[in-house]
């Protein structure tokens, strides 16, 4: 979730009231801004991902004013009509087809407010704009631009301008290879025949979306009038982004002007009109979702405080949803605002009385029983990660090829790249970390493995395994055999077939497979000394692995997709 820094004094002045810091921190938590820390008059909050309109101090102040009852129905921003025209060339269609723009005039920046604008732009890029892939935002000093503005796309070699914070004119390829923003975002343009470009009537470049603006049109503390553009793929998202920025600026008394955008050979439309949407919701639906029993007028009053102009129509509420509230997809989203406006601290918990009988999975019951038995046999339980590595699962275990492992595409460490296909390797790794601990060491793990099973819905299957290992100065096949036989007997098996096994992980002639229930379910033996050597295990190890899923199919039937 995005974090945001707010100046305490700035927030209070936007609220129009000074609220003690402690109280303010609690209030912020009640409107989806969880306070992380407060330092030197700066409050760091974590804003929930659904509310990009809260990514600036102005947006937070707007919401808090309503929550405190200092403002109803949200602010009414007067939207003018700008004379600045934007013409969209047909060439952008294949690269970055849409644009939404706004002009904001009468801005009076302070160092705090300009910092908030930069922060808002950056946070929107990270979240709503999906790291500029979905949309990207540019803000310019309109007085340094000569309208009309063209949104077009040029071949890379036709592009040259001075990017923000650079001292010289650079070509598109220079920008993408040398400018920090160019390097960071070049993957969004690479391979395209043309790059998007915003140019004014004199040919002055405003920006090369989604990479970087030009130095000549940049915004400074002295800037009074702004031009904002958002380019991207989804017109709705562009409109949301431009509304959020424009409305934040309007919170500091600037005026918003909608901008006419003309698509070449197509439609002409006004962007950033900030026109609210209407949504109708039944009062009873809100009450029954929240467990409230509030009269419709009271619900309307709460919605008004939460920034929605609301009309009562019989048992229904018609809410106007401001353009910057892009989180309202469904009436349940309005219901949540009612809950927030009511105040989560005041909602009374109601005992849950659903007449059901609880029960454990049959597999959980069996797992418990087997864990008890193993502990009773004197084994210490171990809990490993089920993520492992090919090296640990096969190479080190002398299993060359033939074993297909379920493998991660984007592992974060070389130790954890596959899901384990058996559990004995986990136990051997465990023992290798404890070579100086008192012997004998008897350990077991009851855990899952995942194997490819291409016919299955998830193309994999889960098996529950029991593995046990014994190490001591002297230990042999018989030690682990005793555990295996005793376990089988305790689980109610009377007889089983024993087959000598030739398995590369075990000493030849000292490994066996036990066949109970008509399937080979237990593998046991003395671990091969080459494995001990590679793990630097100083003493012999005898180990077994039981496939519980096939040994006790009824109990584990519930663990199938």
């Amino acid at each position: 979730m995005p974090t945001l820094t707010l100046e305490y004094e700035d927030l209070c002045s936007l609220l129009g009231v000074k609220i003690p810091l402690k109280k303010l921190e609690n209030l912020l938590g009640l409107i989806k801004c969880q306070v992380e820390k407060t330092e030197n008059g700066n409050i760091t909050v974590e804003v929930t991902a659904d509310r990009p309109d809260l990514l600036s101090v102005e947006g937070v102040a707007r919401t808090l004013r309503g929550f405190l009852g200092r403002q109803k129905g949200g602010p009414t921003y007067k939207i003018g009509e700008s004379k600045v025209k934007v013409k969209v060339s047909r060439k952008v269609k294949a690269v970055r087809p849409h644009i939404a723009c706004a002009v904001v005039s009468g801005v009076k920046f302070t160092s705090a407010s300009i910092a908030q604008l930069m922060q808002l732009q950056e946070k929107l890029h990270e979240t709503l704009c999906r790291r500029r892939r979905k949309a990207s935002i540019g803000v310019y000093d309109i007085d340094k631009v000569k309208p009309p503005i063209a949104y077009t796309a040029l071949k890379p070699e036709e592009i040259a301008f001075t990017p923000l914070e650079e001292a010289r004119q650079m070509s598109a390829s220079e920008i993408l290879s040398e400018n920090p923003k160019g390097v960071e975002y070049r993957h969004l343009l690479e391979g395209l025949p043309r790059y998007p470009l915003l140019v004014d009537s004199r040919g002055q470049v405003l920006s090369m979306p989604p990479i970087v603006n030009s130095e000549e049109t940049k915004v400074t503390l002295e800037t009074r009038n702004l031009f904002i553009d958002v380019t991207g793929f989804n017109p709705e998202v562009l409109e949301e982004a431009v509304s959020i920025i424009a409305s934040s600026l309007a919170e500091r008394k600037a005026r918003i002007e909608a901008v006419p955008v003309e698509y070449e050979g197509g439609k002409r439309l006004w962007t950033c009109t900030m026109k609210p949407r209407k949504m109708t919701v039944e009062a009873s639906a809100i009450n029954s979702l929240l467990g409230f029993n509030l009269p419709v007028r009271r619900l309307a009053e709460i919605l008004e405080r939460m920034g929605f102009q609301t009309k009562v129509k019989g048992g229904k509420l018609e809410a106007s949803i401001p353009a910057y509230r892009c989180d309202i997809l469904h009436p349940v989203d309005l219901a949540e605002d009612v809950a927030i406006g009511f105040n989560y601290d005041l909602i009374k918990p109601e005992p849950l009385k659903v007449p059901t009988t609880g029960k454990l999975l049959s597999s959980t019951k069996v797992r418990r029983k087997i864990r008890d038995l193993m502990a009773g046999f004197g084994f210490q339980e171990v809990a490993s990660y089920i993520l492992s590595s090919r090296e640990a699962q096969t190479v080190r275990m002398r299993l060359e090829g033939g074993v297909r492992l379920v493998e991660l595409a984007n592992p974060t460490s070389s130790e954890y790249t596959v899901i384990r296909c058996w559990v004995i390797p986990s136990l051997l790794e465990f023992l290798s970390r404890n070579i100086h601990v008192e012997y004998p060491q008897r350990v077991f793990e009851l855990g899952d493995v995942v194997l490819p099973d291409l016919k299955a819905e998830t193309a994999t299957k889960v098996e529950c395994r029991l593995a046990a290992a014994i190490t001591d100065f002297k230990v042999s096949y018989e030690d682990v055999q005793a555990a295996a036989y005793s376990l089988l007997r305790q689980l109610g098996f009377k007889d089983w077939k024993v087959k000598p096994a030739e398995h590369p992980s075990f000493i030849p002639g000292r490994a066996a497979l036990l066949e109970a229930n008509g399937v080979e379910t237990v593998l046991l033996g003395e671990i091969h000394p080459q494995i001990l050597e590679s793990l630097q295990l100083p003493n012999p190890v005898a180990a077994m692995e039981v496939n519980l899923t096939s040994l006790l199919p009824e109990a584990f039937q519930c663990e199938k997709v």
Binding site: Q34, T48, D333, T357, T364, A375, A383, N410, T412, A459
Partner: protein, 506 residues
Amino acid sequence: MTWKIEEASQRILKFLADRKGKASLSEICEKLKLDPSPAMRTLLTLQEQGLLKTFEKHERFFKLTPEGEAYASRGLPERRLVEAAVRLGGTASLEESLKEASLPREAGNIALGWIVRKGWGKIRREKGKTLVEAFHTPAEGKDETLLRLMAEKGGADSQWLEAQGLLGTALELKRRNLVEEKVKRLRDVELTEAGWRQAGEVRVEAPRKPVVTVLTGELIRSGKWREVEFRRYDVSAIPPTLHPGKKHFYLEFLEEVRDILVAMGFEEVWGPYVETEFWNFDVLFQPQDHPAREIHDSYQLKYPRFGRLPSRSLALKVGKTHKDGWKTGSKGWKYKWNPEVARRLVMRSQTTAVSVRQLSARQNPPVKVFCLSRVFRPDVLDAKHSMEFHQCDGIMGDWGLNLRHLLGFFKEFCRALGFKEVKFRPGYFPFTEPSVEVFVKHPTLGWVEVAGSGVFRPEVTLPLGARFPVLAWGAGIGRLAMVKLGIGDIRELHTRNLELLREAEV
């Protein structure tokens, strides 16, 4: 042997009691025939047990020098010279007397000096010759007595000498270099009151029966155990450590959570670790460009890469819901939903995937199920992050359920886990609305976030065919275990330290 010390200590107590409670170490060793150093160890042990006290003192001890020893057996030179003179008729020259006494020439002057000093005879000089005059054998002098006694006793301590009035004599002999003085450390032993009581109960009997160490089956069967005595053990000696077979402390905590939920009427359910994005994300109304679906936030699979969509009709409904809301009343996410993306396999990143799988299979309320299992996120393992951890997810679905029931559930669940104070804050999850974050008050850590929850969105429930409200919640159970068990490092939950597991409280 430890049992001997045991026996020796009883004999010492008894001995001391017979001696009115006091004796010296040397007496004890002498009378009880014990070697001094084991005896000393026994005494110190008894002292530790508060049964007796020992006092150390230093004493002067006198011992014959080799010269003294020689004189003790053959007589002092002055005596031998005087007696020679007597034998020679009362007056004899020094040479004759020395010869008669078998004394070397050098001894002459010393002997003459002492004869004069002791008044045993006279010395005259006549015609350049020294004459010794003595007419009767002198009585034994104190110095000679002492030499004799010391030769017999092998020395004498100052206390004894004083009592015999011989301390001055001893010092005189020391000056003659016939005796040397040493300092000896002595130990006196005295019974304490507890020691007296203990001694009263001691009955020392010489073992009359053969002593055996092992009670054999043969001894029992033959009845011969009656004729033997069992070697006594030092029952306070430290035994070897036993390491019981033990269940894992963290997994036991998870079992406790399962039991709590079953007691609250939840049925446990299961789901796979490898999941299609369909169940992990799409059904949960997370759009296909949602940040959680990027490689930074979920593990994708290299092999196998794709699974199957469960049914065409469900996939269609979910896809339409994403696009425009389908019949759910939502405006949807406004994009073209791609079934190929939904087929991609990921490591389950949230156990909520299990909840929705279960919900799709249970069309009739009430539904009250939970799943406690592992989830995976692309993190590098360190104290605070893990690529694999446990989550506990549950749903409660029935007609008439609402947000307040969700809060009511948490109050009860947290109380069962030992947290009395709970607070709720608005939160956000793509699949619930309203959403609630749950915090509990920890005595030292303060408010700790333990769970996320909410009411499933209609965009989640309606495509699955569930028309009733469904409350959903998920708890980071590993984090909760850390808070409950006082663990600061997440890796410790899956520790590879055997000693730690052996010592962990169960």
